[in-house]
């Protein structure tokens, strides 16, 4: 019996197109003509769009879960032997399904804006929803005409599917794409606010206030999404790397950099009404770079482990879409963005200036990633030769920029808006903090160098000093601020700490996250130990103060693969003898997936905050020996911990009282004479 579920899904998907078109046109026209009925049609249309996309997505999921191989997509990317949670994630483990997820997430954001943004001025609200509708139209056209997920093969449906790419059969990959897309697509909201403001000619502090929480939510999802992708690469690809500056990684990193600059510059625009043209450009940029990422991954113009299979028509279509969306919005920006420079120049030691420095450094970093990613493509396009731009290039340019950024980040909280002076309290912690940080760095590097290598590592010293300095500067500021509050109100220190706003704590946690991440990056790249060994059962290897004993090798059958599992017992060494036996178990695997006829390596990892033990199984050699890679990676977990702290910081900012929904939007934003003058020009 042939299921009609895919047809229902296809129909729902087709119906989305007129709804999205209506959403793109009607509220916008209503706002232009002040026709209130049309202007208010946005929420209803958004609900309709979301509902039909939800149906389409549910139908595709149903087909995957029920192994309906008459659906070409299911036959290509699933298999009856696949565990059902992977059948579920297989829905977006391919080009067509992931696009459907993309547009479904877009519809979800649109729905959220439709109902949570009701306190916005009605014309602004209508325009924002219309822009989001317009983006949905573009993606729906793309899906329907080039990437239909419901395409069927009813004449001779295969009995068995091709299986999901084994690389994607992993818990990290169930969550990574949705989180990443929530981030990418979330920037569409900031983008829509920017376009709506440019069209409406109202680019003021209130605009920045509305945009901020949406941008922060998108940013925090993107942060978690990227971190998860990096973690996945670390444990799934089997070579212990966590970031490779691959074009596809860069494609997700560029919107993140733009988004990070944006959330900071929005603060300046909201609080002081400055940098408006720049902020609106960043809002356009963050989403444009998300689209660029989508293009790079799916167009087939580059080679990457992460790229989707592609065909040229798709590439041309996204390019066209890119030209309309990005080109159109940049044209709108060029024609409508405010041009008047703020007459009141701000002072070098004001928070405005330092936010500008932060933005410049982030923008240059973004340019480095963009240039490095596009350079080989430009050379190929002009037929000037085949080049690769990879880690040695990016690291050389990126690290100094990050060092500068961290230095500015440490001092920034001590600066005030408008004023040209450091908060007097700074003078006290400044010397102390720097001395303590240097001391910590000396001690840490002395200990670690003795533990992992014999020579003194200068890079590690710089990272530890800088990270602990940033951490101490940030925490000291919080302490001083709380103490000042406590002494003013005659209350306890704890009450003082509790009195600080959530968004302030968000900054403290996020900046501390940067420090923790930098610590992880610096230490793991300085002190990681890598060994490639030939081991047979019973063999012993001592690496970086740990003894690894290969106890046995056994063959095991999984649901859709067969595997060789090696069992290692690992223990700490002291003076060449085991301290407490071999308490740690590591079980790296070598898997053979039947359907894809693909060999995969599953690393055995034992993680602690201070170090990871990482073993991966290579090829089998002669006389029962196996090639084994053993890594000891100090503090590598700090990288992802830092990323999670940044995301947590974002979360704290979002749940700050002043952003909670349903509060009336304050309109007493500082629109000084300069601001109103600029509006007149617009």
């Amino acid at each position: 019996m042939i299921s009609v579920i895919p047809e229902i899904g296809h129909l729902a998907l087709l119906l989305c197109l007129p709804i999205a078109t209506a959403l793109a046109v009607l509220p916008m026209a209503g706002a232009a003509a002040s026709w209130h009925l049309l202007q208010r049609s946005g929420p209803l249309l958004s609900s309709g769009l979301w509902l039909f996309l939800a149906v389409a997505f549910a139908c595709l999921t149903y087909s995957f879960l029920h192994d309906d191989f008459s659906v070409v997509l299911v036959a290509q990317h699933s298999n009856t032997a696949l565990p059902s949670y992977y059948k579920f994630s297989a829905v977006w483990g391919n080009h067509e399904g992931s696009l459907l997820l993309w547009v479904f997430i877009l519809a979800s954001w649109t729905l959220a804006v439709a109902y949570l943004g009701k306190s916005l001025p009605p014309d602004m609200h209508a325009r924002v929803l219309a822009v989001l509708g317009g983006i949905a139209v573009g993606f729906l056209l793309f899906i329907i005409f080039t990437s239909n997920p419901f395409e069927r093969n009813l004449i001779s449906p295969p009995l068995e599917g091709n299986d999901l790419n084994p690389l994607l059969q992993d818990i990290g990959l169930i969550l990574h794409p949705p989180l990443l897309y929530i981030g990418y697509v979330g920037f569409a909201v900031a983008f829509a606010f920017a376009i709506a403001a440019l069209i409406g000619g109202k680019l003021d502090a209130a605009w920045a206030r509305w945009t901020r929480p949406w941008t922060t939510v998108a940013w925090l999802f993107l942060t978690v999404g990227i971190a998860l992708g990096s973690w996945w690469a670390y444990y799934e690809l089997g070579w212990g790397g966590w970031w490779f500056w691959d074009p596809v990684e860069n494609a997700s990193f560029m919107p993140w950099l733009a988004g990070t600059a944006l959330i900071h510059s929005l603060a300046a625009t909201e609080k002081r009404g400055v940098f408006r043209s720049w902020t609106v450009l960043l809002a356009i940029l963050a989403f444009s770079l998300s689209l660029l990422g989508t293009f790079l991954v799916r167009s087939g113009i580059l080679v990457s482990v992460h790229a989707f299979a592609s065909d040229p028509t798709r590439g041309m279509f996204i390019l066209l879409f890119l030209a309309v969306t990005v080109g159109g919005s940049l044209l709108l920006y060029a024609l409508r963005a405010p041009t008047i420079k703020p007459l009141a120049t701000f002072k070098l030691l004001s928070r405005e200036s330092w936010l500008l420095i932060n933005n410049s450094l982030l923008a240059v970093s973004l340019a480095v990633v963009l240039i490095g990613t596009l350079f080989p493509l430009v050379m190929s396009a002009l037929d000037l030769g085949s080049y690769s731009v990879g880690p040695p290039y990016f690291n050389k340019l990126f690290l100094p920029l990050m060092v500068l950024l961290m230095l500015f980040m440490g001092v920034a909280p001590y600066l005030n808006w408008k004023h040209n002076r450091l908060t007097p309290v700074l003078v006290r912690p400044w010397y102390m903090v720097s001395i303590v940080a240097l001391g910590i760095a000396m001690l840490a590097v002395a200990l670690l160098s003795q533990r992992y290598v014999t020579q003194w590592r200068f890079g590690a010293f710089i990272t530890v000093a800088l990270s602990s300095w940033l951490l101490l500067m940030t925490l000291t500021h919080a302490g001083l601020k709380a103490r000042r509050f406590a002494s003013a109100k005659n209350s306890s220190a704890w009450q003082g700490l509790a009195s600080l706003s959530r968004s302030y704590w968000g900054m403290v946690v996020a900046h501390s996250g940067i420090a923790v991440m930098a610590l992880g990056i610096g230490l793991t790249s300085s002190y990681s130990v890598q060994k490639e060994l030939a081991m047979s059962p019973g063999a012993v290897a001592d690496v970086a103060g740990y003894r690894f004993v290969l106890e046995k090798l056994e063959d095991v059958k999984g649901p859709n693969y067969s595997a060789t599992i090696a069992s290692f017992g690992v223990g700490r060494l002291s003076d060449g003898t085991l301290v407490k036996g071999l308490p740690i178990r590591l079980q790296p695997e070598k898997r053979f997936y039947y359907a894809a006829k693909n060999v995969m390596t599953e690393a055995g990892i034992h993680g602690r905050l201070t170090r990871d033990l990482y073993v991966s199984l290579g090829d089998s050699l002669e006389d029962e020996r196996w090639a084994v890679r053993i890594y000891v990676k100090p503090f590598i977990r700090c990288i992802w911990l830092g990323a999670l702290m940044m995301a947590a910081g974002g979360l704290l900012v979002v749940i700050d009282k002043r952003y909670m929904p349903r509060l009336p939007v304050r309109t007493d934003a500082p629109s000084d004479t300069v601001a109103s003058k600029e509006q007149a020009v617009v």
């Binding site: 167009s299 113009i301 030209a323 060029a334 041009t339 493509l377």
Partner: protein
Amino acid sequence: MNARLRLFIPLLIFAVVALVFLTLEKRIGSGEYDPSNLPSAMLGQSVPAFNLSRLMDAEQVVDAEDIVGQAALLNVWATWCIACRAEHAYLNELASQGVPIFGLNYKDERAAAVQWLQRLGNPYRLNIFDFKGSLGLDLGVYGAPETYVIDAQGIIRYRHVGILDAKVWREKIEPLGLQWAVAQAQGAAL
């Protein structure tokens, strides 16, 4: 600069980037460019010097002089290479038209390779047995099959990665304008 004009800079940058993408897509569409295929670093250079044994006769030594002297193809193949089997019939056809083809038997078993030629026909004038892949390394071979087009002076003019077929011959190798006709006359000597 006029402040308004300055706001056009982002649009301009985007236009350049979009143009690059458009060119790439077009070149991919026309088959001129394939991101997974690497252009050879040896183009315009002489065939590297080597000193290896012949496939058919382990005692006999071949060097670069043995294959230089006329426009010819140097085809990298092996019995473990599935795609090589797919292109073999076309190589036979080319050889029968008199195109000189030399073989580079790459990281293969001698016996299996000889058997393969006995079974499928031998389009090669001469086969170099490169067990360790040393000539392969000097040529920049990264897989099989690969086919190098060498002119009469022994200069590498073109490298094709993947299966050689009539389309590749017509669109890529013929336009090089080499004197295959001379080879045709010599073809009788096969």
